[in-house]
Amino acid sequence: MAKKLHISTTINGEPEEFLCAPSDTMLDVLRNELDLTGAKEGCGSGDCGACSITLDGTLVCSCLMLAAEAEGKEITTIEGMAAGETLHPLQQKFLEEAALQCGICTPGMLVAAKALLDQNPDPTETEVRFWLAGNLCRCTGYDKIVRAVMDTAAEMRGAAK
């Protein structure tokens, strides 16, 4: 077996260290070593977006990133989205508007949608649909998801005024 690598990183604002094999993906480490099981493994090939995280603020698939690449970087996962018991407005809106069915795609949808609203607080529906095109929902619930993202954006813009 190859030597394990010692990686120091930041996850959801907290310093974190872990050991990984050179071929381990970030998704492997999040789920199997760090008990952060919010990111899901759907396809394992970057097609479905269920494992979405941000890496230094950029939305990526954690299945297409080696865990070793996390060295010195800042990672956020779905677990960092709520502030304690207070849900992020996107999470709250997904609940209120039932923008989920089985829930497998939901963490990835939320992480991706937050990354969009962080850089574009007033997206058009087309922009939301293009942005989320890499997040697949096998229950075919896209309309409710898109609507929840649009409604959250409107609410957050209202709150910011």
């Binding site: 077996m1 050179p22 979405s52 939305l59 990133m65 070793a68 690449e69 942005w131 997040n135």
Partner: protein, 289 residues
């Protein structure tokens, strides 16, 4: 995937010596959107992975429209899209890169990776060929420059020598009245592999085309530079006869495969159609440039 080694050097020299020493068992990791998929599928089992993203030159965007941009081989689509001047200067080159995959893939995918993966359908390559981009590569024997169209050698193969790494992509200085465009045909509306991809780079003086370059993807073992199509456009007013001659040159250059995405006949016909459409967009942009 046993006995694999991961290195993330901060200097290019270190990366090259490790990569060269791995003697063919090494793989370069830029965004990983092809490499990790190939590893997961068991298609490649590298002994060494060299992550090049900690090397400053590989992730830098230097230069300007006037002087010529130099884009690090590992710069991601998301990073280049946010650059204040690049998309205005080279809209076609940027749209080729930005068409690769989803938002998540854009966070990682790069020119260097797309080019060196060697896919005939690589979306970012026809636009680079049309732009006249040059790739700087460096290996154990030093640094050299290669035209983008001379990098691919066939599906999954490149003309890089053992130990050579793509360092950056240099675009020429922009001239007045010049712009570009890239269009591809895919069976779905988004996120698929090109059946045909066409990059066109035009310089217009009033109504007359004074210079042109055409890159054609997904219709041959490598992305092609189609000089006959460019020659048919130069000196014309992009009238119907010139466009049809250029389209015919693109069709003649095709040597495609038959697969589930498109037949030989379909790909060949679409190559001509896309040439016309892409030229129209590039001409409209050139009129504003």
């Amino acid at each position: 995937m046993t006995d694999i080694q991961y290195l993330a050097p901060t200097s290019l020299d270190e990366a090259i010596s490790a990569y060269a020493a791995a003697d063919g068992a090494g793989r370069i990791l830029a965004g990983g959107t092809d490499l990790l998929v190939q590893m997961q599928a068991g298609m490649v089992e590298p002994g060494l992975i060299v992550d090049i993203k900690n090397i400053a030159e590989l992730t830098a965007i230097e230069g300007s429209a006037e002087s010529g941009f130099v884009i690090g081989a590992a710069v991601s689509g998301a990073t280049l899209e946010k650059h204040p001047g690049f998309g205005e200067a080279w809209p076609g080159v940027l749209e080729g890169l930005n068409l690769i995959g989803s938002t998540q893939i854009q966070g990682r995918a790069s020119f260097g990776g797309n080019l060196c993966n060697g896919s005939p359908a690589a979306d970012s390559v026809p636009g680079l060929v049309a732009a006249g981009a040059v790739v700087t590569v460096q290996g154990p024997d030093g640094r050299r420059e290669i035209a983008v169209e001379d990098v691919p050698a066939g599906p999954g193969k490149t003309n890089l020598a053992p130990g050579e790494i793509a360092v950056s992509i240099t675009l020429p200085a922009k001239s007045a009245g010049q712009s570009d465009a890239y269009l591809r045909m895919i069976p779905r509306t988004e996120m698929d592999i090109a059946v045909v991809g066409v990059g066109v780079n035009l310089t217009m003086d009033g109504d007359t085309c004074t210079a042109a370059r055409v890159g054609l993807g997904a219709v041959a073992p490598t992305v092609l530079r189609v000089d006959d199509a460019a020659a048919a456009l130069v000196g014309s007013t992009l009238d119907d006869a010139a466009l049809e001659a250029a389209a015919a040159a693109c069709r003649a250059a095709c040597n495609p495969i038959d697969d589930k995405r498109g037949t030989i006949a379909y790909r060949t016909r679409v190559a001509g159609v896309l040439l016309k459409r892409t030229t129209a967009i590039a001409a409209e942009r050139a009129a504003q440039a």
